[in-house]
């Protein structure tokens, strides 16, 4: 069936859609209020930098050396140390979640040290149920241990034997602040919500309210119908995207190194896939509640879990890793983090852009295919 587009009809439909958007408080909340709230939650609420870990300490040895080491732990800005009487007490504290791990300085700590060539054994127990935190415990204790070693050597007038000194320098995010990569990632989530959730409702709404029947009985063509749903929500999405970037840069002080033009192109492609998915669900399910549920499961959850925004893709099982290649949000997260933190790195952006284009074409094409000019 040929589907010509009459500009007059398309304009009339878009205008109608715009009126509905402007008058519907829920679309305004989803497009403009929700993003700001989410940005602040992600900007301040979620912080993957671990500061002040709660750590238990059992000093079985009370020698000056042991105390000196303990001072080093107490002095670390990353640790909040609680002293305990014995191992059992600390184990209990860890089970109850009062501490994230604990250090035991054994009775023979000083004695072992004093032996020629002896190393002092130190027990570090970390709560492995949260591997991320457990790593922090290990690293921070290790850091304090190193500091103590250096101190000790200096006091004895020895030069410490380090062969290599490691001086970490973080590229693209020098202060290694998680916010700087969480915010661009969270914009992906917001765009997913706007793209899929908002549009999942609009066609289903016309079916539920019986207005679709009236539209289908008029000379409207399939292409006009589809475009009239895509264009206004595309405009809404892009507006929201630039508002999010503005809030991120101005209020949350996230550096932005890329170009706005690239942001617009990549953002448009991602919105295309999101809007397409939403419209597809709405068209197929014809029921607002079901469509919104499906959109949440098909777009929002994968974007949150599998886009690499919070959970590192490389630490996922291989099957899941392979699956993440199918998720448009994955490419948009990469693209957004690149645009924000590294600028216009073309190989990355092109690759992501191409995948997003393919996803957008796929979903919009499928919607076009599923859009019927009849009721069946």
């Amino acid at each position: 069936m040929s589907t010509p587009v009459s500009m007059r009809r398309l304009y009339a439909l878009c205008r109608k859609e715009t009126w509905q958007i402007l008058r519907d408080p829920s679309s305004n909340i989803i497009a403009f209020l929700l993003p700001v709230v989410m940005l602040f939650i992600f900007g301040y609420g979620i912080n993957l930098d671990s500061t002040a870990l709660r750590l238990g300490l059992v000093l079985e040895d009370t020698s000056p050396e042991a105390r000196r080491f303990a001072d080093n732990l107490y002095g670390s800005p990353y640790l909040r140390v609680t002293a305990g009487q014995n191992r059992r007490e600390m184990e209990q504290a860890m089970i109850e979640g009062k501490v994230r791990g604990f250090v035991v300085v054994p009775v023979d700590f000083a004695e072992q040290l004093r032996r020629p060539g002896g190393t002092a054994p130190l027990l570090v127990v970390a709560d492995g149920s949260e591997p991320n935190t457990a790593n922090f415990v290990q690293n921070y204790v290790f850091g304090a241990w190193n500091g103590w070693l250096k101190q000790r050597a200096a006091e004895r007038g020895e030069t410490p034997p380090p062969a290599i000194s490691v001086e970490p320098r973080f590229w693209f995010n020098p202060s290694a602040e998680s916010r700087n990569y969480l915010i661009p990632g969270s914009i992906t989530i917001i765009m997913t919500v706007i793209g899929a959730l908002l549009t999942s409702l609009v066609i289903a709404r016309e079916w539920e309210r019986g207005t679709m029947e009236a539209l289908l009985a008029s000379p409207v063509t399939r292409a006009e119908l589809l475009l009239s749903k895509l264009l206004p929500y595309y405009a809404l999405g892009i507006l929201s995207l630039f508002m999010c970037v503005g809030v991120a840069v101005v209020l949350l002080r996230v550096p932005f190194r890329g170009s706005l033009l690239v942001l617009w192109v990549v953002g448009s492609l991602f919105l295309g896939s999101g809007l397409g998915l939403g419209l597809l669900l709405s068209t197929v399910l014809r029921n607002q509640f079901n469509a919104a549920q499906a959109a949440l499961n098909a777009a929002f959850l994968p974007a949150l879990m599998l886009s690499g925004f919070i959970y590192e893709i490389r630490s996922m099982p291989e099957v899941i890793q392979a699956f993440t290649y199918l998720i448009p949000a994955r490419y948009f997260v990469t693209a957004m983090q690149t645009i924000f933190q590294a600028g216009s790195v073309w190989p990355v952006l092109l690759r992501s852009g191409l995948f997003l284009l393919a996803a957008a074409l796929f979903f919009v094409g499928l919607t076009a295919l599923k859009t019927r000019r009849r009721l069946e």
Binding site: G210, T211, A217, S218, L375
Partner: protein, 576 residues
């Protein structure tokens, strides 16, 4: 003027996943300059036929031609000259009257000078000029209907399809719409008006009478009505129970159909039958037989094969319920509030054993809320509901054992077969083993469910769904039956059958509490309570309520007349 516009030729429509065709072998011709009424009960296939003509559905087989065009192969041209108003009017409720009109004008290419004059004409015609900036969602039902009509009229349609335009609209607006549509057909339009109200048939120049997907009659309504000419009678001056008289009359072979009308019993005789012998019917010494004007409904019942007769197979199966005329259902100051809104407001009544007690009122009056409290499904905000002496607040489960409940909405499982539903519900009421098997078999026989046992309820017609629901409610032979709008939306024959069952079981001593919004059904009840805005505004026997409003000019008011006057009196009282 009577030039054919639509040709329907052996049109058949079967929806996927449904065994029964929605339309079967339908052939008809629709003319310009006429109102063609698409008449039939819910589920008859009226909307399907409308959608087929509008090109919104494709027929499974058969041919449709609208002004020489096939709606499926040439949809674009067809849409240029079809005006279609779907059920619920198809308006955007968050757009204003003018914005709705502008949208449809743009879609149909009504522009420039033409647009200005058309808008002016339509707004005047529909009397909406004062409301152009009001949102469509804020309009009354009647105004929405007019706006829907105005939108459908944009772009000079030659065929105007109106799907149930009278639903949810007050009687005055409905009358106005009829006037408007008559003006339109005078200009040469072909109008199709679908409705479940049989009274509206007489306003059409041409009717297609449909039932269960089949065309029963096509032609002028008078032609159908004339078939029952000279066969409609009223028995006036009845002494004694009219309900029992009706049952006796319906048992006679010469009586095709009968209903209670106020103080009288209306009967339609079979063709060629001898005049009725009143003496044999035991109608009382002062009873007389008077010929009356036949109604479209009489003819419709005959076209469907006549009424169901006077005997209830259900009642024959029941054992008589022992006991005297004690009060078995009681509401004392029963009140249910949802927030500030009192859905049921200090309601008092008592029902005695073996009575039919009716709660009558328009939709939303609070009938169902009262009902649910009596069945222990809702907890009253204050007041007491008692069934067989059990307070439903404290001993709901004992009370529930005694009663059968048929909900307004179909509440059988649509993914179980009819047989499985019957088994499940009999089991839920505690029937086991041989007793359960007998109960299920009995219900299948009484309600003629044999052909449908292995299908799921959603493929059944509404009438059979209601039969199944009633079967599930009475299988365990309860001594009290609550029926919430059992006849809503079902065809007139099934409606009569239901009342035959109700009358039958009551004769056996079962107590029936029933809600209905059909005023004429009140005549079947022993006592009724009129419910309006959560309150009982009047209660008594149908005769008492009718006598209450009878005047010299209007000595024999119908139940509807009585209801309207009582509501008017009530609203005047509360406003003064």
């Amino acid at each position: 003027m009577s030039e054919a516009l639509v040709h329907l030729d052996a049109v058949r429509k079967v929806f996927p996943r449904s065994k029964q065709p929605a339309l079967e072998g339908l052939s008809a011709v629709l003319f310009r300059g006429r109102i063609t009424g698409l008449i039939g009960p819910d589920g008859a296939g009226k909307t399907t036929l409308m959608r087929l003509m509008a090109g919104l559905l494709a027929p499974t087989s058969g041919r449709i031609q609208v002004d020489g065009l096939d709606p499926i192969s040439d949809p674009a041209k067809l849409r240029e000259f079809i005006g279609y108003m779907p059920q619920k009017f198809g308006l955007y409720e968050d757009l204003s009257v003018m914005e709705n009109l502008e949208l449809h004008a743009d879609l149909r290419g009504v522009l420039g000078e033409e647009r200005i004059t058309t808008f002016k004409r339509l707004l005047e015609f529909t009397d909406l000029s004062r409301f152009t900036t009001r949102f469509a969602g804020k309009l009354s039902g009647g105004m929405k209907q007019k706006l829907g009509l105005a939108c459908a009229l944009l772009g000079h349609p030659r065929l105007l399809l109106l799907d149930e335009p009278g639903v949810g609209v007050d009687p005055i607006s409905r009358r106005e719409l009829w006037k408007m549509v008559h003006e339109l057909v005078a200009q040469g339009l072909a109008v199709v008006w679908s409705t479940a109200y049989l009274e509206e048939a007489e306003l059409c120049q041409e009717v297609l009478l449909m039932n269960d997907g089949k065309l029963i009659f096509s032609g002028q309504p008078q032609e159908l009505t004339s078939r029952v000419h000279d066969r409609s009678w009223q028995i006036r001056g009845v002494t004694g129970s009219r309900r029992q008289l009706l049952a006796r009359a319906l048992r006679r072979p010469e009586v095709m159909d009968g209903v209670i009308q106020g103080h009288n019993v209306r009967l339609v005789l079979r063709p060629g039958s001898a005049p009725l012998n009143l003496g044999e019917l035991d109608a009382g010494p002062r009873a007389g037989l008077v010929p009356v004007t036949p109604r479209f409904e009489d003819a419709f019942i005959e076209a469907l094969g006549g009424g169901p007769g006077g005997d209830s197979a259900l009642a024959q199966k029941l054992a008589p319920v022992p006991g005297n005329h004690d009060t078995v259902v009681e509401a004392v100051d029963l009140t249910k509030k949802f927030g500030n809104f009192a859905a049921t407001d200090h309601v008092n009544f008592a029902v005695k054993r073996g009575e039919i007690f009716g709660l009558l009122g328009p939709n939303g009056a609070g009938k169902s809320t009262t009902f649910r409290m009596l069945c222990g499904l809702l907890t009253p905000t204050s007041g007491t509901a008692r069934v067989m002496g059990f307070d439903l607040k404290t001993s709901a489960s004992q009370a529930r054992q005694q009663l059968g409940y048929m909900a307004q909405k179909f509440s059988q499982y649509s993914n179980l077969t009819v047989r499985q539903n019957l088994k499940f519900f009999s089991g839920a009421y505690g029937l086991r083993g041989e007793r359960q098997r007998q109960a299920v078999e009995g219900m299948v026989e009484i309600f003629k469910l044999h052909p449908y046992l292995d299908t799921t309820p959603d493929t059944l017609s509404l009438g059979f769904k209601q039969r199944l629901a009633l079967a599930c409610a009475v299988m365990h032979e309860p001594s009290i039956v609550f029926l919430d709008e059992p006849t809503s939306g079902v065809d007139p024959v099934t409606r009569r059958e239901f009342w035959t069952h109700i009358n039958g079981v009551v004769e056996k001593g079962v107590t029936v509490v029933v809600t209905t919004h059909f005023m004429d059904e009140a005549e079947y009840c022993d006592r009724i309570a009129l419910v309006f805005r959560g309150k009982i505004i009047a209660a008594g026997t149908p005769d008492q309520l009718q006598d209450q409003v009878a005047t010299k000019e209007h000595p024999d008011p119908s139940m509807e007349d009585a209801f309207i006057s009582l509501v008017e009196a009530e609203t005047q009282e509360s406003s003064s």
